[in-house]
């Protein structure tokens, strides 16, 4: 997928001016947040917090010996008849999938949601090489029709409202326009049914790879994942190498926090564990099963000071709880992953210089950190990226000079007292009778949408020094 993350400012501006998007985002704001909160309360806050700690520990255990667990996974998956392939980047993912399609003569691919295939821009590659990709997750199906990228990792069409979906379906399905969500969903099922029955390739993502059994775990709500992975002749599961966890026991623990953090469900409608292709005694299942395990920048995080990011289990809680995401939506972030996790991953996977705004586009409020089911310190990781930008001289010189000047003055109390004495008076004068400044020199970003209240006029230190001493 083409990266547009250098244009966050412009895209955020557009998002703020988009009334339709704004009304959708207002409703979104509390939906997932309230559902997660209710699920957490229902389970018991103390237990939920214990499970978060345990889940972070499980992910760290897998990551500490990532190579070992991946090799174990590969062995176990092969033993059960699957083929395990490795891809260094998106280009290799595309190449491997096209080779598989050519080897088996495959023409139509049904897909269940896979963010890694978005990273690789797989659909465009398939289309360009005679394989028709059909997204079967309802949200992905909608945005495929609209030719748009996802704006949320688990609710990819969250930016669309009912009217827009009605229009899209009427246009593409060539049927009478429907405005009832139930009827629209049934129509999508009807359209997808034929594709499920005629596709010869099924492409899925993977929520987890279980090392001890060589299985891929897929968590869905619509049942499309089951059909994608069992009906076509060939199943290809594409996922990041960091998704490997040691045992089924670990999987059970992680499943107690994943759906609750994502949608507020105690458990998703479908939880599939797929292990190898169809065996002689199986009634259904694919004839061939492939795993494509993707690096795509992940190994750069291994062993570094930002390895915690690899714990991510793609639940979406960080973006659901992010006040910036809630304000501008997912498209402003300009690549596959939006919100706090996207603001960390995008610069790491695509080059820090290709996403300069993202680590800055956060208030470091910490709402993501406390919501994260695997306790990723997202604000701290964003701050570290800011530090890397500063070290690489990727911030404007005026910003760097500003901080140095500030520190220079703030380390010299007498100079600082003088400077603040002048600033307090000058700003008060600038505010005049109104008492607020409407256009701030050097701070026009602030006064774009707000006033700047003025100082009282004298600094605390001057007033304190001049205060009447109590006699004692």
């Amino acid at each position: 997928m083409q990266i547009q993350s250098m244009h966050f400012q412009a895209r955020a501006h557009k998002a703020l001016a988009d009334e339709k998007l704004q009304s959708v985002m207002k409703r979104f704001g509390s939906g997932f947040v309230d559902k997660r909160a209710a699920a957490r309360t229902e389970l018991g806050v103390e237990l939920f917090e214990t499970l978060r700690t345990a889940s972070a520990g499980i992910r760290d255990r897998g990551l500490a010996n990532l190579d070992v667990w991946l090799r174990r996974f590969e062995e176990e998956a092969r033993r059960r008849g699957a083929t395990v392939l490795w891809a260094a980047d998106g280009a290799e993912v595309r190449k491997l999938v096209l080779e598989i399609a050519a080897r088996h003569g495959l023409k139509k691919a049904i897909k269940s949601k896979s963010m890694v295939s978005e990273e690789a821009g797989l659909n465009e590659a398939l289309e360009g090489n005679g394989v028709t990709p059909i997204e079967t997750d309802l949200g992905e199906y909608i945005i495929q029709l609209a030719k748009e990228p996802p704006s949320h990792i688990i609710a990819p069409a969250i930016h669309k409202d009912l009217q827009q979906v009605s229009d899209l379906f009427a246009e593409h399905h060539r049927r009478p326009r429907l405005e009832d969500i139930g009827k629209l969903t049934r129509e999508a099922r009807l359209m997808l049914r034929e594709h499920f029955l005629t596709a010869d390739l099924g492409i899925s993502g993977g929520n987890f790879l279980i090392a001890e059994t060589g299985s891929v775990a897929i968590v869905t709500n619509e049942g499309n994942g089951r059909m994608v992975t069992t009906m076509p002749k060939v199943h290809v599961a594409i996922t990041g190498i960091e998704k490997v966890i040691p045992t089924l026991e670990d999987f059970a623990t992680l499943m107690r926090v994943l759906p609750r953090s994502a949608t507020g469900q105690a458990i998703s409608n479908y939880v599939s564990l797929l292990t190898g292709p169809r065996a002689a005694s199986d009634l259904d299942g694919p004839e061939h099963m492939y795993f494509i395990l993707v690096d795509g920048g992940r190994t750069e995080l291994v062993g570094g000071d930002m390895q915690e990011m690899l714990r991510c289990i793609r639940c979406g809680a960080c973006m659901n709880h992010c006040p910036v995401y809630q304000t501008v939506g997912g498209h402003a972030y300009g690549w596959v992953y939006p919100g706090p996790m996207g603001s960390v991953l995008t610069p790491i996977y695509n080059g820090i210089e290709n996403a300069l705004d993202l680590p800055q586009a956060a208030t470091l409020c910490g709402a993501c950190h406390v919501a994260c089911p695997v306790k990723i310190p997202l604000p701290e990781l964003l701050r570290k990226l800011r530090e890397r930008q500063m070290q690489a001289k990727l911030r404007p010189w005026s910003e760097r000079a500003g901080f140095c000047a500030w520190a220079f003055v703030a380390r010299r109390p007498r100079l600082y007292a003088l400077a603040t004495r002048i600033a307090a008076r000058a700003m008060k004068l600038l505010g005049g009778e109104k008492g607020t400044i409407s256009r701030l020199p050097l701070g026009s970003g602030w006064t774009l949408g707000r006033e700047m209240p003025v100082p009282e006029g004298k600094t605390f230190r001057d007033l304190y020094a001049a205060r009447p001493k109590r006699g004692n």
């Binding site: 208030t363 470091l364 901080f403 500030w406 520190a407 970003g445 949408g449 004298k458």
Partner: protein
């Protein structure tokens, strides 16, 4: 006990009365208050922006100024949070400085946290009366667990009626330099906060961090609300009748 009052750079420049309110509250709680005259900034702006060296220099200065006190108290969750939770990162792997930073962190408190949990104040000296709503500033809430403390202190004031707003724990959009770099997004977030304030019958929004105060007050005034007061919790707790 000897308490060092870290006024914070924003209070020093913008709202000295908050500093005096904090002073009054601490003295009323029986503390011997020490206000180092050389204090300036804790280094948070540089730290949050990735400019480590300036943060480090200011942290060293602040540690030297306050480490002799029994406690460091600041009328700000974000400045107290900087000292308490982030100073250790500035001195990672350094024996002596790290020990000094850790020692100061252990005795650093946000004002209401200190009053409620250390000084165990039962009665505050203020005589404020009116309907208020409370905004939980992010750093205080999520780094230091400041949530019940200001409410408990306010509950001890007979004239105060607290009416909670929707999403009182959601960020107001300030975020330090974020408010200037992404002014439009920041103002939109402030607008959401102001709308929730307006949905209450409160005459004042009360909070514990000056950055958020300036942001919320600035947006309230721009949207034409000249009535709703924006007050620091220290001003309310120490208000003259």
């Amino acid at each position: 006990m000897r308490v060092g009052l870290f006024v914070t750079c924003l209070v020093d420049l913008m709202r000295p009365r908050i500093g005096f309110a904090a002073l009054k509250l601490l003295e009323h709680a029986g503390c011997e208050v020490f206000v180092p005259s050389t204090q300036t900034c804790c280094g948070q702006p540089g730290w949050n922006s990735g400019e480590r060296s300036s943060a480090r220099a200011l942290a060293e200065k602040l540690i030297g100024e306050f480490e002799a006190c029994d406690y460091l108290v600041a009328p700000s969750g974000s400045c107290a949070g900087m000292i308490k939770t982030h100073y250790k990162d500035l001195f990672e792997g350094e024996g002596a400085w790290l020990m000094r930073a850790d020692a100061l962190a252990a005795k650093t408190y946000e004002l209401t946290d200190f009053l409620a949990n250390v000084a165990r104040v039962q009665q505050v000296p203020g005589a404020f009366s009116g309907r208020i709503t409370y905004h939980d500033s992010c750093s205080g809430l999520r780094e230091l667990g400041v949530k019940a403390q200001p409410r408990a202190l306010l509950a001890g004031m007979p004239g105060v009626r607290l009416e909670e707003m929707k999403d009182c724990e959601v960020c107001c959009g300030f975020g330090g330099t974020f408010s200037v770099k992404f002014g439009e997004v920041s103002a939109a977030m402030a607008e959401a906060k102001c709308a929730h304030i307006a949905d209450t019958t409160a005459e004042a929004v009360v909070l514990g961090d000056l950055g958020c105060m300036l942001n919320i007050e600035g947006r309230l005034r721009r949207r034409g609300d000249s009535k709703t007061r924006v007050l620091h919790v220290a001003e309310v707790l120490a208000a003259d009748g």
